[in-house]
Assembly symmetry: C2
Homo-oligomer: 276 residues x 2
């Protein structure tokens, strides 16, 4: 029987049970939203790092030229790094032709925690429908939607991201764990108004109360992106649902009906894998 | 500002942050439901143990007479123990005048994990309204509702128990963590039909599918008990909301309108504490 599990925090991962599974890691505020954006905006290579130490190792292997470092530690910017954790810091003009090494407190650690899975995909609200299509088309029969959480605790936004993906799957005859059941139940109530649900969480309220509505709306824009980033050999590669895993069309119409421009179209398909 | 936190699993506990807090531990299927029942049915002393080793130490200190051992490990009965994890195994005729040492995989470990708190209370669906009244009357301003979870993972039933308690609190001006917000949201949807929500979880469905409806209904009977067990010096003591912490009236009318008989009325108030 096919199985869908939602994990409420990355701490619920049992690494030895991930063999054969497809894991979607969600850190909606902000790591997976920002990593998606960096890739979408045309970075040459995107490298999520588990720790500052690993980030340094990756940078040394990449060499000194055209490498940006970004992220946060305990919500603070990192001394000496070029950029922070927010998507708007990684505009196309900033990241085009650059490698980006990215490290955060929860999200990139969750990516590392999932390394034992067959596939590790990055999900957020913006690409939730695309991730769901990729999961269906891949025929995956053991799926974990892993909420990164914050400092070991549950967060509404990651759960909302997982719930949005789950609600786009045809789960007839699938076996769900309790958190997956709760996620579908949650979407029955909130599926029509994702931004309001996002404000239920502490992080979502922070953006609203600190007049960061542009960032909030960017994060909450379900279906804005067709890109499905996958971690391969430590690097993000682009998958696009419905296109046999390649990302080559120059423009997509997202499920929400908006046109989204693919700023990566010069890449001509799946990025080459590169081991660092 | 007063703070209410729901923790999705006992693994979310950070022991050093519990100082000054009141913790309610919930393991609805079954540890906290059964421990409540053992106390309510007139056991002389009830001792939750973190591990088989600790259970053995407690029994040795109690001496050989009139001591029962019960519980489970990984859902299996324990070799040599008198009883398992289910409330119906601890009828008044069984436990009256006896000490009971009780150890389970998740629930009694969660109780041990909470030991750093000012107060540790046991909650379940049966005493959820009484626990809420006790929390309000005590003036607690830092409350953790800790779902024990199962093998490190979220369970619907413990969350439902926490949500039921939270829904009985006046939380105006309280600060809630994300899981507490979700709990209140969940109750808006399911508060009128707790048994149906309980069936959303794997454990709840197990009881239904295995023709254990008596046990299921017992667990799901919100407000059936007025007793609020509290852990003091390793032993459960009886608190009853609305009676200045003593448990002496012979009969209570629960919020659900049923009469519940206090089989402990001969104890004449708060049990003496006893260190083992």
């Amino acid at each position: 029987m096919k199985r869908l599990r939602v994990l409420m925090t990355r701490e619920e991962i049992v690494p030895e049970r991930l063999a054969g599974a497809t894991v979607v890691v969600l850190d909606v505020f902000m790591a997976t939203t920002t990593l998606l954006t960096i890739l979408e905006n045309g970075a040459r290579g995107v490298y999520p790092a588990e720790s500052l130490e690993e980030a340094e190792e990756i940078r040394e292997k990449l060499g000194p030229d055209d490498v940006l470092r970004g992220g946060e530690q305990d919500a603070a910017r990192i001394d000496g790094y070029d950029h922070g954790p927010f998507p708007e810091e990684y505009a196309p003009a900033i990241v085009a032709g650059k490698d980006v090494v990215f490290v955060t407190t929860n999200g990139t650690r969750a990516i590392a925690d999932a390394a034992g899975a067959d596939r590790v995909i990055l999900g957020c609200l913006r690409n939730a429908p695309a991730v769901a299509r990729e999961l269906e088309e891949s025929g995956a029969d053991s799926i974990y939607l892993v909420c990164a959480g914050s400092a070991g605790r549950f967060t509404v936004e990651d759960f909302l991201g997982a719930a949005t993906i789950a609600s786009h799957l045809d789960l007839k005859d699938w076996r769900l764990n309790d958190a997956a059941w709760l996620a579908l139940d949650f979407m029955e109530r909130h599926g029509e108004n994702i931004p309001e649900a996002l404000k239920g969480g502490r992080a979502g309220r922070w953006f609203v109360e600190h007049d960061r509505m542009d960032a909030f709306r960017f994060v909450a824009d379900v279906g804005a992106s067709e890109l499905v980033p996958e971690v391969k050999a430590g690097q993000l590669v682009s998958t696009s649902a419905g296109q046999q895993g390649s990302w080559s069309a120059s423009q997509h119409v997202s499920q929400s009906g908006k046109n989204t421009t693919n700023r990566n179209d010069e890449s001509g398909g799946r990025r080459p894998e590169r081991t660092v």
